[in-house]
Symmetry: C2
Subunit: 144 residues, 2 copies
DNA sequence: CGAAGGTTGATGCAGTTGCATGAAAATAGA
DNA sequence: TCTATTTTCATGCAACTGCATCAACCTTCG
């Protein structure tokens, strides 16, 4: 078995690291400049908004976002403290809880999207020709 | 001007985030399991090894690695404390210093590569068909 | 049932990162 | 020259992450 990456594989890995860093830095900078919280807050709020009234269990959100358990637990703390998320007990499992987005959470997510969307366009869309984004997305999908 | 990403652009951005996270997690886990330091140490050691006897100025390494200045300053502290890198004064600019890899640094880098290389193959190479890696690398290159 | 094992979530502590700032030296410009 | 600006690097402090571990509950299986 060939356990050394060939040149193209290595280039893809390095490109993946660098592209993600550059794009993330751009996007996070736009959010910060607008006085908004980081991307991780957006991701969590978006998942919770999509989940609707029912909300999500922390472990579900953890898997959806690929977060470590302790990081999600603490992110939930911060979101709750900021009034963006409500923690609600769940009858079926007394260890558990439901995380439910609040109206303030939905509002913040919307305001973040107003900055986030053009930042994605700037960091990704503007740099790819027509059709390339779809090709890139398909290839990246094979890695995750 | 269209400042909202289209569907493919958004998919590419999300794919970029997730693919990088999954691949990095795999690779870092392999290094940790082997009792080796994180990727950032490898990257720094590799740049310094390529720079040879002359070494690199911290600000050069900072730009090569896309590190924040304070993070590089502290990474250099740790590498020096671990005996992997030597800090040497530079006559031409008395603010500055040269970072020079030590034999122990070269040795560690080599041992890390023995784990890192197959991990890249596992996380990236094995998941792409022939030719796809080169396509992916080219597209990612446009983002950075 | 009842013990063993797995799942869910929180948390103390150490290490790392982000932010703001500072000190020292180099450079530019009047 | 000599003052203002920029560059290079470090660091105190707060926030965040990683690690280990714990407590509570659920599930499985003899």
């Amino acid at each position: 078995m060939d356990r050394k990456p060939d040149e193209a594989t290595e280039a893809a890995w390095i490109g993946l690291s660098r592209a993600q860093r550059v794009a993330t830095a751009t996007i996070e900078a736009r959010l910060k400049a607008a006085g908004l919280p980081p991307l991780s807050w957006y991701d969590a709020l978006w998942e919770l908004e999509r989940a609707g009234e029912a909300g999500l269990r922390p472990f579900e959100l953890e898997r959806a976002l690929l977060f470590e358990q302790y990081n999600l637990s603490r992110l939930a703390d911060r979101l709750e403290k900021a009034g963006l998320v409500e923690r609600r007990a769940v009858e079926a499992d007394r260890r558990g809880q439901m995380l439910i987005i609040t109206p303030a959470g939905r509002d913040l997510r919307r305001r973040m999207w107003a900055i986030y969307a053009p930042a994605i366009q700037e960091a990704v869309g503007d740099r790819l020709a027509a059709g390339e984004a779809a090709t890139l997305a398909a290839l990246l999908g094979k890695l995750a």
